[in-house]
């Protein structure tokens, strides 16, 4: 009885089933060849702690899509292809980002990949891309770790973490009289620790003494112990890296504990929309290295925008002035545009090789990849909050204001 029931398909049923499967396989084909669309995939932190920053990343991708599709799309091998991006929410979680990247490749069959937000999710997602040999251009992960694994298919448009605190130290070393000491407080996570290490190394190289370099655990609600220890050592510079909530807390508790550095720098913080409204006067003088600002002297090779043109167009489109996240995203897609035009096909290996030869000037800045896939052509600028507004104070040729040093107290 059991055997009879298991054989319910029967000869006609089996044939039909086989035919249907065959039909599916034939009609599946390669999406790109079938229609005039090129599809990119990206895991994005639509929710979770990174969602505020990730939204700006996504808007930057969408800005490019609108601009390129208005012009008919990307030119690849004699035909124009409209650009489409498939997004999935990784909830700011690295494991989810990896799973979604796998899904984008195997189920959605996207042609190429864009990076997620943040070094954590990107580290895992890029491994999936490398495994499947699909080029991924990363726009929002600055940890050197991502580019040091000998991967061939991963490229990043942004300046790496070494330069974050490195540019602060460089700026400090040119101040007269030169600051003598620096204290570093960083969250015990990938990006902040990489920033701290690189910053400490650069400080030693230029002769600024590192008097304090400590980690704090994720989710800390009281940094007073660290700050009291810093106060005892009385450093000229205080640099900190970590999740924004912790940085806001640090500034408030710094004032409570009486820590008064001459220069106060954050790997990420002052450029965020929530910084000045939350901290009010306590935000004055805080400094952050930035990947980009609207007054940088770049002019886009593909679209002809200057950095300011980009900012104006973007504001019209999205209703807010962009910080560096959107143009960083747009640049990633511009890299693909040039590489695809050069390769003339969708073949991942050809496109990968074309990306490796990128030598492009965008509104975001110059892009040239070294052998690791990192963009070493662009440096970082430094901004400072003055009168509640961000002012670029370094390097001198891009500055639209003067560094306020030492901080008045």
């Amino acid at each position: 009885m059991l055997q009879q029931r298991c054989n319910f398909l029967g000869p006609a049923g089996s044939a039909g089933f086989a035919f249907a499967t065959l039909a599916l396989l034939v009609c599946g084909g390669t999406p790109a060849a079938a229609d005039d669309v090129i599809r990119f995939g990206a895991a994005v932190s639509l929710t979770g702690p990174l969602s505020t920053e990730a939204k700006q990343m996504k808007d930057g991708y969408d800005f490019y899509v609108k601009q390129i599709n208005e012009r008919g799309g990307m030119q690849i091998g004699g035909k124009k292809y409209k650009v489409e991006i498939v997004y999935y929410d990784d909830a700011s979680n690295p494991e989810t980002a990896a799973k979604l990247t796998e899904k984008l490749f195997s189920e959605d069959k996207v042609n190429f990949l864009l990076g997620p937000y943040g070094s954590g999710p990107t580290l895992t997602a890029s491994t999936v891309a490398e495994k499947h040999e699909v080029p991924m251009v990363v726009a929002h992960a600055a940890s050197t770790a991502i580019y040091s694994r000998g991967y061939k298919y991963i490229f990043g448009t942004l300046t790496l973490i070494d330069e974050y605190f490195g540019s602060i130290i460089d700026m400090a070393s040119k101040i007269q009289p030169k600051p003598q000491s620096v204290a570093i407080i960083a969250e015990n996570a990938l990006f902040p620790q990489a920033a701290a290490e690189a910053g400490a190394k650069r400080a030693e190289e230029v002769g600024i003494k590192v008097v304090y370099n400590e980690k704090y655990p994720t989710g800390i609600k009281d940094m007073s112990s660290n700050l009291v220890a810093v106060r005892e050592r009385n450093p000229d510079i205080l640099m900190s890296a970590g999740y924004t909530a912790d940085m806001l807390l640090l500034v408030r508790q710094m004032h409570e504990m009486g820590v008064k550095p001459k220069l106060l720098a954050f790997a990420l913080g002052p450029s965020l929309p929530t910084w000045v409204p939350t901290l009010k006067e306590q935000a004055e003088g805080t400094v952050e290295p930035i990947q980009w600002a609207p007054n940088m002297k770049w002019k886009d090779q593909l679209f002809g925008w200057t950095a300011q043109d980009y900012a104006d167009l973007y504001k019209k489109e999205f209703g807010y002035v962009p910080d560096y996240h959107p143009p960083q995203s747009t640049a990633a897609l511009e890299v693909f545009q040039v590489a695809l035009a050069k390769a003339g096909s969708f073949d991942p290996k050809k496109v990968r090789d074309a990306i490796a030869e990128t030598d492009l000037m965008t509104a975001y800045g110059p892009i040239r990849f070294d052998s690791r896939g990192a963009n070493t052509a662009k440096g970082m600028a430094v901004m400072q909050i003055q009168d509640g507004k961000p002012v670029v104070v370094y390097p001198p040729d891009s500055a639209n204001g003067k560094l306020l040093y030492p901080l008045p107290n």
Binding site: T52, I220, K221, D222, S225, V228, A229, R252, E256, Q282
Partner: protein, 292 residues
């Protein structure tokens, strides 16, 4: 010297922990309901305070009655209308229910306020007293004092009012309470509402000292949980002592050991208390009668 500063910081923080936990303890002790949405209630209170402070410029401490009141109303409606449907069943149902409620609240807050971090800097935030080398900020002392006052108010409510007596009676024996004419549904709703109100008030205090965002609520639920187990279920002095102990050990552990060990020490302490005195420091045996 660093130790003294840490001790002071720990005491001040501990008062806040106690305030956050005492509502959680009340709800758990009386209704056998572990409210996983407690952290979200705290955040709701913080958002009420932040909104009022932003639009009317009112000092956050003055908004405590408002945030407490708003959360009281919300708590009453949620309990009477929703939780009451599952409370007669197993503890597990209530856990799942409050877990879902928490997710709902977090996402509603995200839609309403986005994930942007907020905090309130009061005009007098710069006032700091210096006793020797120890610095004591005024805002921290104010938060501590408010937390203690609120906890004391709750204690006098449960000990000296008829409603409080009814709540205590219900926690001793639900059936006997019904027999003497107590409207148990109403009492449960009032208990939950009071617990929520305490959370809301604690949220106002959080807004002054810390920064908050809809995704950061679970931290407070976790702390409340540890404080309640430490101090004993349903006991208000227990919550106060538990909060202080947790605050002090957190801070001292950061200084004496490594900041990374802070949570490890908290949970080790929790385990120790559970092994040595399972009812917590002040817990009484007849609270949290287990319902099958």
């Amino acid at each position: 010297m660093l130790l003294t500063q840490s001790l002071v910081n720990g005491i001040l923080l501990g008062g806040l922990y106690a305030c956050i936990a005492v509502g959680f303890s009340l709800i758990w002790g009386v209704m056998n309901l572990i409210n996983l949405a407690h952290g979200s209630f705290v955040l709701l209170g913080a958002y009420v305070t932040a909104t009022i402070n932003q639009t009317l410029g009112l000092d956050p401490f003055l908004t405590i009655p408002i945030s407490g009141g708003v959360l009281f109303g919300i708590g009453y409606v949620i309990q009477r209308g929703l939780i009451n449907l599952v409370i007669a069943r197993s503890v597990f149902s209530t856990l799942v229910f409050t877990f879902g409620l928490n997710m709902l609240l977090v996402n509603l807050l995200l839609v309403a306020f986005t994930a942007d971090l907020r905090g309130i800097i009061v005009p007098y935030a710069g006032i700091v007293w210096q006793v020797g080398t120890v610095r004591i900020p005024l805002t921290r002392v104010a938060v501590f004092a408010s937390a203690v006052v609120l906890t004391a108010l709750l204690a006098s409510f449960t000990n000296r009012t008829r409603l409080g007596a009814a709540i205590k009676a219900t926690s001793f024996d639900v059936d006997a309470a019904r027999l003497v004419g107590i409207d148990v549904d109403h009492i449960y709703a009032v208990t939950f509402a009071v617990g929520a109100a305490m959370a809301g008030a604690a949220g106002s205090l959080i807004a002054v000292n810390l920064v908050f965002s809809p995704v950061l609520g679970d931290y407070y639920t976790m702390k409340a949980f540890v404080v309640v187990v430490l101090g004993g279920l349903g006991s208000i002095p227990g919550a106060l002592v538990g909060g202080l102990v947790l605050g002090i050990t957190d801070n001292l552990a950061s200084v004496v050991l490594d900041p990374g060990y802070r949570d490890a020490v908290s949970f080790a302490l929790l385990l120790l208390v559970l092994v040595l005195s399972p009812r917590g420091l002040f817990g009484k045996p007849f609270y949290a009668e287990i319902k099958a």
